[in-house]
Amino acid sequence: MKKLLVLLIAVVFGGQMYGQTYNTFEPSKTQFMIRGYGHTGFEYMDSGDETESTFLGLAYAPIFLYKHSDRLMFEAELEFVLEGNQLETGLEYADVMYVLNKNITARAGKFLLPFGTFMERLHPAWINRLPNAPLGYGHDGIAPSSGIGVELRGAFDLGGPTLNYSVYATNGPRLNDGSDEPEEAGMLRFENYEDTNLAKAYGGRLGLLPFSDSSTEIGFSAYSTSDTGEQDSEYEDVGAFLFALDFSFVKQISGLGGVIDVKAQYNNSNVDTATYFELEDDILEEYSFDNQSNSFYGQLSYRPTMASSDFVKKLEFVGRYSDFNAPEGAEWEEKSVQYAFGLNYWLSWRSVIKLSYQTTETEGGHDGDGLTNTDGLFVHWAIGF
């Protein structure tokens, strides 16, 4: 019996001692990590005829990072949003990337498109200085946000200045020919998960940081496709060319006692002219229009990081102008101008409470032909993790 007890003790404690001796708890080569962000808030909107106020359910966007090696990684971002009494889910991106050498990285899958910088770098709620995107982005926007395909990207150190680039091929956009949604005939839809024709969209962005302190970046993006319509349809050969110009300046300026952050982007969309149909008094009438759209935003923010008060240091003042012009003659013809002002309080580098007032003047659009003024008050709380 005594021998058996000694044997059991030796097995139990011996195993633990062995484990403690030889398990060095070194990190494994492969790593899995969940990051992401969430935001919630309150909105009050007044458009003259209609007034609404609502607390917003939390939007949650987990980001999954799997580092297979120092060169190979998988990344994906999901999005969960409570909207219209329903839980909406989305796959923002999911791609595999491989660092080929110090200047070239290859990506494949669904990735955020480097069309300007807003959608690729600045749209997450804990990064965006205002509670929503400028005009021209989102559901009815003209700037593509993501695509399915392959991409090469990288950067070159020019001995002070830096040059970064990306070139890609994706499924490309799908032209809304008006058969299902006549009020949106001529619009490009970028959520083209299964290609409807043989043509691909090709594009890229070239960014230059001319100064060694990396404070300034100017970028040019282009996105082009020869076909946007469904294969074998009369719209198949309708091509599209989009371009964007972006600018960024971020610098701590002692004379101003804080950090100045300037961001701007101009988007231009040019789609081949085509003939669409509309039902007017039970008669099918054909029409066409010059399918050109553009949008612009310019944003200035200031953080008094050199203030003596801890409270003041965490404040940020923001102002943004944005406009959006949809083609004249289209069912979705629109001219909108928006001014947004905000006061932010940074709880930490990745958590911010945003108070914002926005006023938008819209002529045309989905809401009708007249002029609409919409004022909005937003209180949002965003956190990155």
Binding site: Q31, K67, V99, I104, I127, G239, V259, W349
Partner: protein
């Protein structure tokens, strides 16, 4: 639009070829120069390079407020650095030096 599309495709193809040629070309010198040791040491001493801390402040702040090094451990920072290198199109040097700084300061 067809002409513009052809031009865009042509520019992209030339960009890919050019970048591949530059990125894959050797950075080694065609011949080996042998500087005297004192000169080489002096050159090294006077070479002014940005520190990882400076790059962390300048580069991260381009999009978001620079993160606190203490918020993640070394292993996490390695994963995040690779993710950010690609997402923000950073150079290898920027990414490595920022990672070194974050690991040393957390």
């Amino acid at each position: 639009m067809k002409t513009i599309h052809k031009i865009v495709v042509g520019v992209i193809v030339m960009t890919i070829v050019g970048i591949t040629a530059v990125a894959c070309s050797s950075t080694k010198k065609g011949y080996t120069d042998v500087p005297d040791t004192a000169t080489a040491a002096a050159e090294e001493e006077f070479k002014i390079e940005k520190s990882g801390a400076q790059m962390w402040g300048e580069t991260c702040n381009r999009c978001h407020i620079a993160p606190s090094p203490a918020d993640y451990n070394d292993t996490d920072w390695e994963t995040i650095s690779l993710h950010m290198r690609v997402r923000a199109n950073l150079t290898e040097k920027e990414s490595n030096k920022i990672l070194e700084f974050l690991k040393s300061a957390n």
